[in-house]
């Protein structure tokens, strides 16, 4: 594996569309559930252990070769909100474009052919990691970290939060990100034998409900 390839994939500037999404932070800010660094941290922690764990598991499973079609169906079942399913597919399609330009591979081409409107982003992330010569552990770290970094960046813009505080939140969560990635790698190994149904399905009711509320707003900064 190349550690530098992981940095390229995990870079917030990797052009895969993530900047336009807040991971539910915009809705939570408006509802008054995120008001500063402390509540941002709690938000990110909850997100990490629920949708973050699911995303990391899907990504790790895709990276170690669990069939993407099966994983995509598992992702659908784990994402009740149609708004979030659509966002995940859009982001998957955007990541696919960036990944094919960055690390061209037959596997990415095949996945793009299978899902012209986009597979769930974590599934694409896992296949992209594979194409970059990375492993399940890398894909899991990347997905777990993304599950919190996007919300933190968005909150900096939404609340004019001190960016140093937001970055410190991410640093404090780092050991938990590692832990979630470890769980995801374990789950991916299980899925290789038992299928994608064995992957974690941790959910966050307020993220799901909030996503539907957010989708109905006339005025918003972020796509989700």
């Amino acid at each position: 594996m190349s550690r530098a390839a992981l940095l390229v994939l995990a870079d917030g500037r990797f052009p895969a569309g993530g900047h336009a999404h807040s991971g539910g932070a915009e809705e939570a800010v408006k509802a008054g559930r995120i008001t500063g660094a402390a509540s941002l941290e709690d938000f990110c922690r909850g997100r990490l252990h629920t949708t973050g764990l699911v995303a990391a598991s899907l990504a790790a499973a895709a990276a170690v070769g669990v069939p993407a079609v099966e994983l995509d169906a598992a992702a659908d079942a784990r994402t009740p909100s149609p708004t979030l399913r659509l966002a995940a597919r859009r982001l998957g399609r955007q990541l696919m474009r960036a990944a094919r330009a960055t690390w061209p591979s037959d596997e990415l081409d095949a996945l793009a052919g299978e899902f012209p409107k986009g597979a769930h982003q974590p599934v694409v992330l896992g296949v992209a990691a594979r194409s970059a010569g990375l492993g399940g552990d890398d894909a899991a770290h990347c997905a777990a970290y993304e599950s919190v970094s996007g919300a933190a960046t968005a909150t900096v813009r939404l609340l004019s939060l001190d960016p140093f505080e937001a970055t410190a939140v991410l640093a404090r969560l780092a050991p938990e990100v590692d832990h979630v990635a470890d769980l995801a790698v374990e789950a991916a190994a299980g899925a290789l034998e038992q299928g994608a149904g064995a992957l974690p399905a941790a959910s966050a009711p307020l993220l799901e409900i909030g996503a539907e509320a957010h989708a109905g707003w006339a005025v918003r900064l972020f796509a989700s």
Binding site: S39, T50, A77
Partner: protein, 260 residues
């Protein structure tokens, strides 16, 4: 039922079958230990069962289960007489409660138990699996209340998986209480709400005409799943408000036309 050093094991079973006269019979209605099943007066073609026993359990170490199977064309409604309270037990370790619902073609199951209340110090793992044939119908409600009035919650984790025509349309897991992964009560997950619930509806017609997403109040949403199913998802301050939100959502779904 069997009592093992770890706790009580009990599994109740229901089989519903068309009786050939336009109604539904219950060829199997097996109570087991604390899980007692009673047939009550049905309405029209539907058989009704009330689960009466499980109020005081499950305790730590217990393993309870209920299997319900509606055979082709049968109509079954299952309710419970009171809330189920998860309590701490003598023996260490978590308790388990597994529900399995099978709905054959053209059959319909309404699985509408009272809430599950997680008492302080308890540790319960709930697993609910519904397997619905392509032309089957299902209404399944799951409500969890975290702690009795003014009480902190126990540890509760639940997984709900629904399969329609062999394809998983919903797989959701929620873990709360002491020892649950961090952030469960934070702004992304429950944010201090003490009741959380879901209502799954499987109807073949949703394949062609999925429900339109809508919100009921601040903390309840109705969404189409990826398949012929819909989900109502809600959080609330307490069990009463939760039930009100779920009832309202169900009524709205039945009023139609939710699909425009």
């Amino acid at each position: 039922m069997s009592t093992t050093p770890g706790g009580v094991r009990a599994r109740a079973r229901i089989v519903a079958r068309q009786d050939g006269r336009g109604g539904t019979s219950l060829p199997v209605l097996e109570s087991d230990g604390p899980l007692a099943l009673r047939r009550t007066r049905g309405s029209g073609t539907e058989a009704r069962v009330v689960l009466v026993g499980a109020m005081s359990g499950p305790l730590g170490g217990d393993r309870f289960g209920v299997d319900a199977h509606a055979e082709e064309g049968a109509l079954l409604r299952v309710q419970s007489a009171a809330a189920t309270i998860a309590l701490p037990g003598q023996s260490k370790g978590e308790a388990h409660y597994d529900v399995r619902v099978h709905v054959a073609d053209r059959a319909e199951v309404s699985w509408l138990p009272e809430p599950l209340i997680s008492a302080r110090g308890s540790d319960l793992r709930v697993r609910t699996e519904a397997d619905v044939a392509a032309t089957g119908r299902l209404v399944l409600r799951e409500e969890q209340v975290l702690g009795r009035a003014g009480e902190e919650t126990g540890r509760l984790s639940s997984r709900l998986a629904v399969r329609v025509g062999g394809r998983v349309v919903l797989d959701q897991e929620l873990a709360c209480g002491p020892g649950a992964p961090g952030g469960w009560d934070g702004p992304a997950v429950l944010a201090g709400h003490r009741a959380v619930g879901q209502l799954v509806l499987v109807r073949p017609e949703f394949q062609e005409r999925p429900v339109t997403p809508r919100r009921i109040g601040d903390a309840c949403a109705v969404v189409p799943l990826a398949g012929p199913a819909a989900l109502v998802s809600a959080v609330a301050a307490d069990g009463l408000r939760l039930r009100r939100a779920l009832d309202e959502a169900l009524a709205a779904l039945d009023r139609r036309p939710m699909n425009g």
